[in-house]
């Protein structure tokens, strides 16, 4: 028996026909996660739906885009409704999408976005409505579940920072059907009591768990509250509607407690600093005046008559000293001069000359003989020497030239 041989086109056409014949495949709803999503310039959207066990190629033609009300993105959980058909050229079947909706959590995201947009339009997130969080509070209201990590964290951190702040807890139901009413009541009740600041929130959870904080009624209650509210829902990465409406958003309940309650010990330090600064400043001022006073005192002292007299007295003593010094200097100088004169005089003394072997000669008439022409031979002369006189007779006279300077004998 001979088997038939088909072309690829034939077999693909055959398979395509099988798909088209199948009633169910004409419209199916398939749930999965979006991946490989491409918006083509032609307006068609190509993507893959996948789950843990497999993938299926999908396309949404531009003409079917009315079936998609949001922007398709990677990772979204969606339900795609459409026909499954074969693309003969590739020998591949794919899902021709006509409508795509977000699935489960996805729907919630969509709802979240819608409400967020709506409230934003209404101006509920506007910064001008934000109330400042008072820094030094006495009472802290907390709207959260009475059990669980969130309330414990808030109480621990608040009391650690400041054990003197009064915490008032409104034990709220934070998830499930009653959550919205419970949270709204909590906010209103604490408004009634009149706390300084309120923390509204809960610990982490899935988007469904946190959903109450995305409800309009809760957002409205937060917005309407005359008391500043810090939102503290879930973890840092969780964002809920009330985070936008609240006066301040804390990433976690712990952080909310830090933001709401001031550190008591830091405040004490601050007061100490103020006290020290004041003391220092007044000391500086007093010191400044004391200095000025001291300066003036010195000035007055300098200008006083007693000081003037003392000054004059000192001046007088100075002058006296100067005078004494001058006169004594002059005296010494004159003494020296006198000593010099005495020496000079000594040089000129005739007795001195005699003692050095010179003689003084005179004639009988007691006239000095200092010229050979003054005596004649046989004349008597008197010779004076150191220790007596000699009478002598002139035996011979002879004139002699001794050379220059002999007349300058008076010079020493």
């Amino acid at each position: 028996m001979k088997q038939n041989v088909y072309t690829v086109a034939q077999i693909n056409a055959y398979i395509k026909n099988m798909f088209t014949q199948d009633y169910m495949l004409r419209f199916v709803l398939v749930k999965g996660e979006v991946s490989n999503c491409k918006y083509h310039s032609s307006g068609h959207i190509y993507f893959t739906l996948k789950d843990a066990k497999g993938v299926i190629a999908c396309v949404m033609f531009a003409g079917s885009r009315t079936g998609l009300s949001f922007r398709l993105e990677e990772g979204q959980m969606v339900v795609v409704g459409g026909t499954i058909d074969v693309y003969e050229r590739d020998g591949k079947y794919q899902l021709y999408a006509r409508q795509i909706t977000l699935d489960g959590a996805g729907l919630l995201y969509e709802k979240f976005d819608r409400l967020k947009h709506e409230l934003e339009e209404m101006g509920m997130f506007a910064p001008e409505y934000k109330q400042p969080i008072p820094k030094y509070i006495k009472t802290l209201g907390v709207v959260t579940a009475p059990t669980g990590a969130a309330v414990r964290d808030i109480i621990n951190i608040a009391t650690r920072r400041n054990p003197y702040v009064q915490i008032i807890l409104y034990p709220a139901v934070v998830q499930g059907d009653q959550a919205v009413a419970s949270i709204v009541n909590g906010i209103r009740a604490l408004e009634q009591i009149g706390v300084d600041v309120m923390i509204v929130g809960r610990g982490g959870g899935s988007i469904e768990d946190l959903w109450a904080f995305n409800e309009e009624a809760v957002a409205q209650a937060v917005f309407d509250s005359p008391i500043p509210i810090i939102s503290a829902v879930g973890h840092e990465t969780d964002t809920t509607i009330i985070d936008f409406v609240a006066d301040l958003r804390a990433p976690t309940p712990s952080a909310a407690a830090e933001l709401a309650v001031y550190d008591f010990w830091q405040l004490m330090d601050r007061l100490t600093v103020y006290r020290t600064t004041l003391n220092h400043a007044i000391q500086v001022q007093v010191g400044r005046y004391a200095n000025r006073l001291e300066n003036l005192r010195l000035k007055v002292k300098y200008l006083s008559p007693a000081n003037q007299i003392q000054q004059k007295r000192t001046y007088c003593m100075d002058l006296e000293g100067k005078l004494n010094r001058t006169i004594s200097d002059a005296l010494t100088r004159k003494k020296h001069e006198m000593a010099l004169c005495a020496e000079k005089l000594k040089g000129l003394s005739p007795l001195e000359k005699l003692s050095q072997g010179y003689a003084y000669v005179e004639d009988t008439n007691h006239r000095v003989i200092n010229d050979v022409n003054r005596v004649k031979e046989d004349e008597l002369i008197q010779i004076y020497i150191k220790n007596g006189t000699i009478q002598a007779r002139v035996s011979k006279i002879e004139e002699v030239w001794y050379g220059e300077g002999v007349d300058t004998g008076t010079d020493i």
Binding site: P134, K135, Y136, I167, L169, L278, I282
Partner: protein, 68 residues
């Protein structure tokens, strides 16, 4: 609620007082006045700060406060 100054407002006043006190060439009488004023502000801060330890309170269904 009586509209008395908040701690933060008192601190602002204190900073102002200290600033003035630290200025040069203010009269001595003025500086004594400022000092006295500053110390009074510090004291009023101190008095304002509640130092009584608190128990956490819980609001019950009847709107009354119980210990938590």
């Amino acid at each position: 609620m009586a509209k008395e100054l908040t701690l933060e407002q008192i601190f602002e006043k204190l900073e102002g007082t200290i600033g003035k006190l630290e200025q040069e060439d203010i009269p001595l009488e003025e500086s004594f006045k400022l000092y006295k004023e500053g110390m009074k502000l510090v004291k009023s801060c101190n008095d304002r700060i509640d130092k009584v330890e608190k128990e956490v309170l819980k609001l019950n269904e009847n709107g009354e406060l119980d210990e938590f």
